[in-house]
Amino acid sequence: MEWNMRRSRRLWGAAAVVTTLSLVLTACGGGSGSSGSSGEVDPNGTFTVYGTEPQNTLIPTNTNELGGSKAVDAMFAELVAFKGDNAQPYNQMAESITTPDSKVYDIKIKQGWKFHDGTEVKAKNFVDAWNYGAYAPNGQINTDFFSNIQGYSDVHPDDKAAKPTTDKMSGLVVKGDYEFQVTLNAPFSVFETKIGYTAFAPLPDAFFKDPKAFAEHPIGNGPMKFVSRTPNADIKLTRFDDYQGQDKVKFKDLDIKIYASQETAYQDLLSNKLDFIETLPPSALAGSKYKSDLKDNLVTGHLLGISTIAIPYYVPGYNNLDLRKAISMAIDRTQITKTVMNDTYVPADGYISQGIPGYRPGVCEFCKFDPAQAKQLFAQSGFKGKLTIASNADGGRKEPLVAACNSIKNVLGVECDFVPATDFGQWRSIVTGHKLTGMGRSDWSADYPSIEDFLNPIYKTGASSNDSTYSNPAVDKLLEQADATPDKDAAVKIYQQAEDLIAKDLPSIPVWDEKGVAAKSKHTKTVVLDFRRRADYSSVEVTK
């Protein structure tokens, strides 16, 4: 069946090419497509995307990786959504979100929205879902996202042995069918953006009746509804015609095809058996082969993420500002992103990804390549011994870091070695166990597009991902002040001040910022790669 469909699509494609060609010849060409595909848009077409097996059950509060979120994000709609091309937040299910003090939020939701089982989405569906996600015994992976709601410590005590006293957070109050109130522990102005994250989706009553059955057949309120799932093979979704949001899809079926290897998926894409892959395998990146392979079918985006080299404070000898500056200025970022990373990254010059409101170029003044000054600073630092950069070596992580090491070696005349870890799991246990013996890779990608998400989790004292054990009371104070500032623009300015202080301390060295290169088939007319490295389904148009 599948095969026949493909074949007929191929025929249609040929027919479409002929039609367009004749249109062009008679000088009828109207709109200019951003991509090279031609042919009529098929509203009943199938869009096939590369997938990996979800790591957890397909529930928003339990999904935080790409494999699962490809399906979950299409099935659920949150209060706030982000535009695919520029990550601008806008109200999706929320009618209005108001707050006098950034601490108490009054949220009204739109009426008439339905879950895929026909029941209406009401305020209590949000409250119940968030309580479920926060309640410790449910063991949800995204539970930390609810931690700044008042009453979180009652449902999720810090102490492992303590039993939660209740399963409802006091900060969540249903005020009517379409209105609820959220009270936070402390003022937090970014909350309005944060609730666009997957974990904050509503769950239907059916979920609470039988979570196990729900996991096998999820029911959401998003633009696409669940059809079937075969583990390790595919997840199939189809358009939900009653969907009210503005991110409706312009095709009918979404087929998330699960592959064991990226290489195979890439070969399938080149032979038009697969419509979209959001990341290219190392073999295609080598020597920029992808550019000639894909031509018009190359899709570039801008991921909101940043790669840094962390210099942990707990490693002896590394807590030395001159050394930090010298290392940073000895890395030739432009050269490495161009040659080793084949133009898939751009040099970083601050602690925030380019494209986030509040990003300023050149925040990190020591991120310029300056061999002479680097040498001088290195001499001042008095560092003796060998430098190391550690990282997991798989997935193309090794090569750019080896290049950075070589750049440091050449400029400073100090020995520099790359120290590999076997895989991501082992690498993470080294980092979280504070067992680094030198510098280490430290990459971050945003869960939601806000300057706050690049600072609080990484640079605040004792924060969840502050693996370098960086601590600066002035930074902490500024971050708290910014969190508590209701006016968004004013808050951004204070976050920027914190970033300036961080840039002076150099707890980690910003190196590069990923562009995101994806590929589409010739059946796909348009597709946008969003900031989370996913196809923005509402932008997709497939041809017949």
Binding site: N56, G139, T264
Partner: protein
């Protein structure tokens, strides 16, 4: 014969326990935190770790864990993956496909390998012998993943004769090319083995007697010569079917075939210990069964063995 079969069956029991325990220990007792890297760039929340620790009995010591696992295994429960899929169901979906692939591969091996072996073994030195020698050397020196990727890119992406990946539930036709990739190495071994064995037995006394008795050539070769020469080949084919189940890891990975090999491939990649243990335990059973069948076939082919 019955005593022979019984003895062989009893031998399976300690082998089964020994191998499964080793597998379980190797997969689950790897040093390091099983939850590191499971939650991406941030550490896993304690609530999640607690839930999973309880679910997979990670707090018990290894022996207790193993017996709990075996206990549920005997009731037909293969356990669950971290993302809540039943391992039994995964295996149930995967094994028919792998069986199909292995059959295709064995068929290719047996037909091409045996034919080439018999032909060269009977003729002796000459052009054909050299051709087989060179081509089998070539095949043996190529790792399976090279053969697979070359076939995929050349026949699939470049010429478009085959699909670059195989559909969810492939038929025999789709599996021919992956089967060739999978079976190529063993095919070369079989050709070599058969050739040597035939060449050796060709001059044996019983063959000369058969020819002297005026038996037709086809009977001499087909019954007298082949029956005796095929014993070492059979050993190889038997254990190879087990090896094909596991050896398919690479091939199934390349062609995205949803079989047991693919299951292990992904299990290892995602550190899904439950899947890996489950599939490998199954493979152990297949190996044990195959070697049992081979031993019994020996006894059928060579009566001296069963009277031992």
């Amino acid at each position: 014969m019955i005593r022979y079969v019984l003895r062989r069956l009893l031998q399976l029991i300690p082998v089964f326990f020994g191998t499964t325990f080793l597998i379980y220990a190797l997969v689950w007792a790897v040093p390091g935190d099983p939850f590191s890297g499971k939650c991406g760039q941030t550490a896993c929340p304690q609530a999640y770790i607690d839930l999973m620790t309880q679910k997979f009995h990670l707090n018990d010591n290894l022996i207790v864990q193993y017996f709990k696992y075996l206990g549920s295994l005997f009731t037909g429960d293969w356990g669950e993956t971290f993302n809540g899929n039943s391992v039994g169901e995964l295996i149930g979906n995967a094994y028919p496909i792998t069986l199909r692939l292995a059959l295709v591969a064995v068929l290719i091996e047996a037909v091409i390998g045996l034919t080439a072996g018999v032909l060269t073994g009977l003729r002796g030195k000459g052009f054909l012998d050299n051709l087989v020698l060179v081509s089998t050397t070539f095949l043996i020196s190529l790792p399976v993943f090279v053969t697979a990727i070359v076939l995929q890119i050349v026949l699939g992406t470049e010429f478009g004769i085959i699909d670059t990946s195989v559909s969810d539930n492939p038929g025999f036709g789709e599996l021919i090319v992956p089967g060739i990739a999978l079976g190529s190495l063993s095919m070369a071994y079989i050709a070599r083995l058969t050739r040597t064995s035939i060449a050796e037995n060709r001059h044996a006394d019983y063959i000369r007697t058969a020819i002297a008795k005026g038996q037709p050539r086809s009977r001499v070769v087909g019954v007298h010569l082949l029956r005796n020469s095929v014993i070492p080949v059979l050993t190889f084919l038997g254990t190879d079917l087990g090896a094909l189940m596991g050896g398919a890891i690479v091939t199934e990975g390349v062609f995205n075939i949803n079989g047991l090999g693919g299951l292990i491939f992904r299990g290892i990649q995602n550190r899904e210990s439950a899947t890996v243990t489950g599939v490998v335990v199954l493979l152990v059973l297949v190996y044990l069964l195959m070697s049992l069948i081979v031993d019994l076939l020996y006894a059928v082919l060579d009566p001296r063995i069963r009277y031992d």
